[in-house]
Symmetry: C2
Subunit: 116 residues, 2 copies
């Protein structure tokens, strides 16, 4: 277990971004995946609340800024390649804009298996 600095995070593979997996620190449910640039990670570290970079609006984004559904950071981990980040959070309200706690509710259908 080695600490990783912000300078050591590899943002190059996705043009300045890293995928961020967001997991409920208590239930261990995977809540969502978003993307962060260097500034978003720095703001997350500085404030203790999850920040991301919106690929559609091209701007820094604090989760829950309008909805109130903020994510308090309990831990941030970086993977072995230094190109993916995991936030362990305390989720206020729900993570998904559809009103479900997690964005991952829908099964991928195995269509072959259902053929006659």
């Amino acid at each position: 277990m080695t600490g990783v600095t912000l300078e050591e995070v590899d943002f190059e593979k996705l043009g300045g971004l890293v995928p961020v997996v967001v997991q409920d620190a208590t239930t261990r449910e995977v809540l969502m995946v978003a993307f962060a640039n260097r500034e978003a990670l720095a703001e997350t570290l500085r404030t203790g609340y999850a920040h991301y970079f919106s690929r559609s609006r091209l701007q820094l984004w604090k989760k829950g800024e309008t909805s109130g559904h903020v994510q308090r950071i309990r831990e941030i981990r970086v993977d072995c390649d230094r190109d993916t980040v995991l936030y362990l959070v305390e989720q206020t309200g729900v993570a998904c804009h559809r009103g479900t706690r997690s964005c991952f509710t829908d099964p991928l259908l195995d269509q072959e298996a259902t053929l006659p």
Copy 2:
């Protein structure tokens, strides 16, 4: 909870790929993140074992094909935007090439907080 077909998965945002979060189905530990194209998802559905697309080798890749550290699929879920996938797996051996069970072992250091 609505089933999603392979045709409904959005591969466009990342040039033919979707990020795949891999979670241990029993312990709920996040093991790794990799990428899949349409073929990798189809092979995963067909075989019941996790397949990915290697961005460095530009080819389909079955996890554990050489190491034996395969991932048996228990569930596949797709997120609300249809552009990210979650594999819930039974991991044989370890997920990380460093020999740790998960790729996410290292904390991101808050350097500001450690300044005098």
